[in-house]
């Protein structure tokens, strides 16, 4: 019995830690309706500035906090001014991509400055422990709770009772109306980013002290857990974010208690999906609150796609088809094989995200389902590889659509967050369902690709095979977009209420899109499995989902040719930057930012 008290206390303690990140995310979401993927990076920057202050400058704790808050606030202001403000009149999705690019750049800068080795960040508080239940808590637990609650309270008061706070809320509700009423929207945004960044920085430092450890990998994890907590509490709702965090901590802790440690994150993400399905606005949103997303589809703004003449496409396809006849190295072919495999994933995502407007952040899960199905079919049931890959595609289509269907009623950012959670759930199920997936050991000895009894082993044959598969999928998808079905998809994206009024069944069309998209992604995963010969739960990870989304946005949402061009660019660029060694991901991030800045609608535009 006393153990349950301990689990509860532990859940609250870790929830406390999540709350620090969630509050900053909630604040930014509240004003600019933006999931700030760079918040975790600011948290990282704060932790390292704290390290410099404590270990090098020997500042006392209050001064450390002030230094970290001030420095990260400046970082936040710079991000707002130079990263996001230029994008405020462009597509709503551009800032999202910009924050991803900014987080790459910040993480890399920290890594290059401080080396990737973890560092100890000693706590500056006296080391006394208070007995609580079966365990103990220290002064840092109290300080973290204090900072979390105080900042939530202060923000609440600020938003409710100050003039700038009103301006913030007015901007959040209706940006244009606020501007007409004379609110300086830019100043509001600046204030919000500064505050959120200062909070993020201080929380990174405190959490670093709490664990006596900081390293450059902490940024993505912080963002993930923070987003979950924030959405559970109700996106944009600051007190809700705190309660959502505590709830998340409790659910994780009880999950560990009942099922064991390896199920921990499974419960975190299940909680998120359940909350989103039952209460899409979060647990603490009032029923009368204005909907968090605009009613009509301004999330993906239409733009004029670049028309590419048919002959140019034919020439390009022919050029890539005959490329292996020229003296190119296998390395170039392998790089392009990777691009074609990513291209299939991007085709899938550009259909569900671009054409029908369901921006998925968990698309790697579809790869994983296809890969595992194909690998297991060919290994345990001795199904020929060609058929196994198709089987992988079908399984991915069926299972993927089934898993995502509960989130069909969601809109805009919420779809992204739900799919992010579903992606994590799939990966954790693969890790824990050992009797089928072999758990962390993974599946080795997967047979190579083969077609009608001939093994496709040489880079040449794999190149042609993957290029042909991608081309077929692209052609089918191109036809689809031009058909009645494609127009229905776009109608749902642009205005789902109007589409419904015209008698389109939203769920049925969304299912159709996910079935087709799931198939393409599953085939890509299946081919990858046979190419790699070994897969485990880490092979298809969140980074791949983010990469796929980047490709799709870069190419132009819904744009078939754009998806392929984007894949070639984003597989090719990091390879081209190899010469820069440690700096290459930094350069990649900067290039990404520039592209978003100067061509937010994507290279080829939204179709």
């Amino acid at each position: 019995m006393s153990s349950w008290l301990d689990y509860t206390i532990n859940g609250l303690i870790v929830g406390n830690v999540y709350a620090l990140v969630a509050v900053g995310l909630a604040l930014i979401f509240g004003v600019s309706r933006l999931i700030n993927f760079a918040q975790g990076s600011i948290y990282l920057v704060g932790a390292y500035i704290g390290w410099v202050a404590v270990v090098r400058l020997h500042t006392p704790l209050p001064l450390t906090i002030i230094v970290v808050a001030a420095a990260t606030a400046v970082v936040g202001l710079i991000i707002e001014r130079f990263g996001l403000r230029p994008l405020q009149n462009s597509v709503r999705i551009a800032p999202l991509l910009a924050t991803i690019g900014i987080s790459f750049v910040l993480d890399q800068l920290v890594m290059l400055t401080f080396s990737p080795n973890p560092r100890a960040l000693p706590s500056q508080l006296p080391d006394v422990r208070f007995q609580l239940g079966g365990g103990t808590i220290g002064p840092l637990d109290l300080l973290i709770a204090g900072v979390g609650l105080t900042s939530a309270l202060l923000l609440f008061v600020f938003l409710r009772y100050t003039k700038l706070g009103w301006a913030v809320r007015a901007t959040a509700q209706d940006r244009d109306a606020a501007m007409q009423m004379g609110v300086d929207v830019n100043r509001v945004n600046q204030a919000v980013f500064g505050i959120a960044a200062a909070l993020g920085g201080v929380s990174g430092m405190l959490v670093g002290m709490y664990y006596n450890q900081i390293d450059t990998a902490m940024s993505l994890q912080a963002t993930l857990k923070g987003v979950v907590a924030e959405v559970v509490g109700g996106a944009g709702n600051v007190p809700g974010a705190v309660i959502g965090s505590l709830l998340l901590g409790l659910v994780e802790s009880y999950g560990v208690a009942v099922f064991g440690t390896s199920y921990r994150n499974l419960f975190a993400f299940l909680l998120l999906v359940v909350v989103l399905v039952l209460r899409p606005n979060g647990l603490f949103a009032s029923a009368r609150q204005a909907p968090p997303e605009p009613l009509t589809g301004t999330f993906i703004a239409p733009s004029r796609p670049v028309r590419i003449p048919r002959w140019a496409l034919l020439v390009a396809a022919a050029a890539f088809a005959v490329l292996p006849f020229f003296p190119v190295s296998s390395y170039v072919l392998q790089t392009l094989i990777n691009a074609w495999l990513l291209g299939m994933l991007a085709l899938s995502l550009t259909l569900v995200a671009g054409t029908i407007g369901q921006v998925s952040l968990g698309h790697a899960a579809l790869l994983a389902i296809g890969a595992y199905t194909s690998a297991l079919l060919s290994l345990t049931l001795a199904v020929p590889v060609g058929l196994a890959v198709i089987g992988g595609g079908l399984m991915s289509a069926a299972l993927g659509t089934l898993l995502i269907s509960p989130s069909f009623r969601l809109r805009g950012h919420y779809v992204s967050i739900a799919t992010l959670a579903i992606g994590e759930i799939v990966s954790l199920v693969i890790l824990n369902w050992e009797s089928v997936t072999r758990g962390p050991i993974g599946i080795s000895g997967i047979p190579p690709l083969s077609l009608f009894g001939h093994d496709l082993i040489s880079p040449l044959s794999v190149y042609w095979f993957s290029f042909a598969v991608m081309l077929v999928l692209a052609l089918v998808q191109g036809r689809l977009l031009g058909s009645h079905l494609g127009r229905s998809f776009r109608a749902i994206r642009d205005d789902d209420i109007a589409a419904r009024a015209y008698g389109l069944s939203l769920n049925r069309y969304k299912s159709l899109a996910f079935i087709f998209g799931g198939f393409a992604a599953g085939v890509s995963g299946g081919i990858a499995a046979h190419l790699y010969s070994y897969i485990n739960h880490e092979t298809f990870n969140t980074q791949q989902s983010i990469l796929a989304l980047t490709v799709v946005i870069l190419g132009g949402l819904g744009n078939v040719v754009g998806a392929i061009v984007g894949s070639v660019a984003l597989v090719g660029l990091p390879e081209l930057f190899r010469i820069a060694a440690e700096y290459r991901i930094l350069i990649y991030g900067i290039v990404l930012l520039l592209l978003v800045r100067f061509r937010p609608q994507g290279l080829l535009g939204t179709i």
């Binding site: 303690i13 079966g134 020229f326 010969s533």
Partner: protein
């Protein structure tokens, strides 16, 4: 308009890539040129710290090899390609190395998914993939071009179990392990050996690498009332668990796998890792000459920094590569055959390393039983803690 420019840019850069590859093919290795090894490993991304440690070990070994006259008068060098431990990138790197005639063998990658995805390419391309941190039991089954000096967990874990059960007298154990292919394999070998030695396994808990909070896991451990905690962890998560175990009031003996052996473990763990026992392959006061040389050389080269397990692995790997190239020359197949021929290569981990031709691995890792005393690793004095 501007799109077309960018499209041309992409095409143009692809063309440049091809031209570059063709050029390198034309430039034949000349005897004045160093003998080039390819390294595929993480320099960025979540595992970047291990790539940085590899470099330190490689560079130290290269300094010593060159001071001793190099490989028959020629220098040895390596080309480190960043894979982020991502299988997509490691396969591209594999093709790059296979099609680059200057590369005589490859070292790495770090994680199993990245390494084993590239294995078919190395095997078919006839280039040795020397995976010196690849403990996955199936790694060397990828083909006769896959060789590994990674300590097999079937060897290491019984040593740790013997330390915990026979020497420290622990009878009821809680095992916490990283839930990766390495952690899982290690756990299975450990549990098997510990049971053979007569201990009871009270509970095993697998955690993912990104985990930082272990308080709830430790409540489960406490409720199983073990008399010892076994950590199959790396140094950063091992330090976190030790700290939180002490914070929640667990006072049991902690015994950890050799992968926590790092000065960082002491720095990150602080007082909480005092009296933690660990089995390692070498230790600071080790009288073996190769260890003395390694530690002294490392401290001189890196401003007094103590080397850790990953530094030792990469140092050994570069020395092994040098020994192999000395026998096999620069022909890729001859190099593969040379792996079966090298005998008793001086090694920090093994003392003397010789490959078992059947499994393409090295057996018989050295063993030292250490304990943390006053913030330092020390040989265990036999006193209970």
């Amino acid at each position: 308009m501007s799109n077309i420019d960018r499209r041309t840019l992409v095409r143009g850069s692809l063309a440049a890539m091809m031209a570059g590859a063709a050029f390198s093919r034309a430039a034949l290795a000349q005897s004045a040129e160093p003998i080039l090894l390819g390294v595929s490993g993480p320099l960025t991304g979540p595992n970047a710290q291990y790539g940085a440690q590899w470099k330190q070990g490689f560079d130290l070994a290269l300094d010593e090899i060159h001071a001793a006259g190099g490989i028959n008068g020629r220098k040895l060098a390596y080309q480190f390609e960043d894979s982020q431990s991502d299988p997509r990138q490691s396969v591209a790197i594999a093709q790059k190395f296979v099609s680059d005639p200057r590369i005589v063998m490859e070292l790495g990658d770090f994680s199993s998914p990245a390494s084993m995805a590239a294995s078919p390419i190395y095997q078919r391309g006839g280039l040795v993939q020397f995976g010196f941190t690849n403990s996955h039991p199936d790694f060397t089954k990828g083909g006769d071009f896959m060789w590994s000096t990674s300590v097999s967990q079937a060897d290491e874990q019984p040593l740790l179990a013997s330390y915990a059960v026979r020497r420290l007298g622990l009878k009821k154990l809680a095992v916490l392990h990283l839930n990766t292919d390495w952690g899982r394999t290690s756990r299975d070998h450990f549990v098997k050996a510990a049971k053979e030695y007569g201990a009871e396994i009270a509970v095993t808990e697998g955690y993912i690498a990104e985990e930082r909070d272990f308080r709830s896991t430790l409540v489960r451990v406490r409720d199983a009332s073990p008399d010892g905690l076994i950590l199959i962890s790396y140094y950063s998560d091992g330090a976190l668990i030790a700290r939180q175990a002490r914070q929640v009031g667990l006072k049991q003996t902690i015994c950890a796998a050799s992968s926590v052996y790092s000065p960082k473990f002491l720095e990150l763990g602080g007082e909480a890792v005092e009296h933690v026992h660990l089995g390692t392959r070498y230790f600071p006061e080790d009288p073996r000459p190769e260890v003395k040389k390694f530690i002294a050389g490392f401290k001189v080269k890196y401003n007094g920094q103590e080397p850790d397990a990953f530094n030792a692995y990469s140092y050994d790997a570069m020395n092994m590569a040098a020994a192999v190239v000395k026998i096999g020359g620069t022909d890729r197949r001859a190099i593969r055959d040379a792996f079966a021929k090298v005998k008793d290569v001086s090694s920090v981990i093994y003392g003397q390393a010789t490959f078992d031709v059947e499994s393409r691995r090295v057996k018989g890792a050295m063993n030292a039983e250490l304990v943390v005393r006053k913030g330092q690793f020390a040989l265990w004095d036999g006193k209970p803690t």
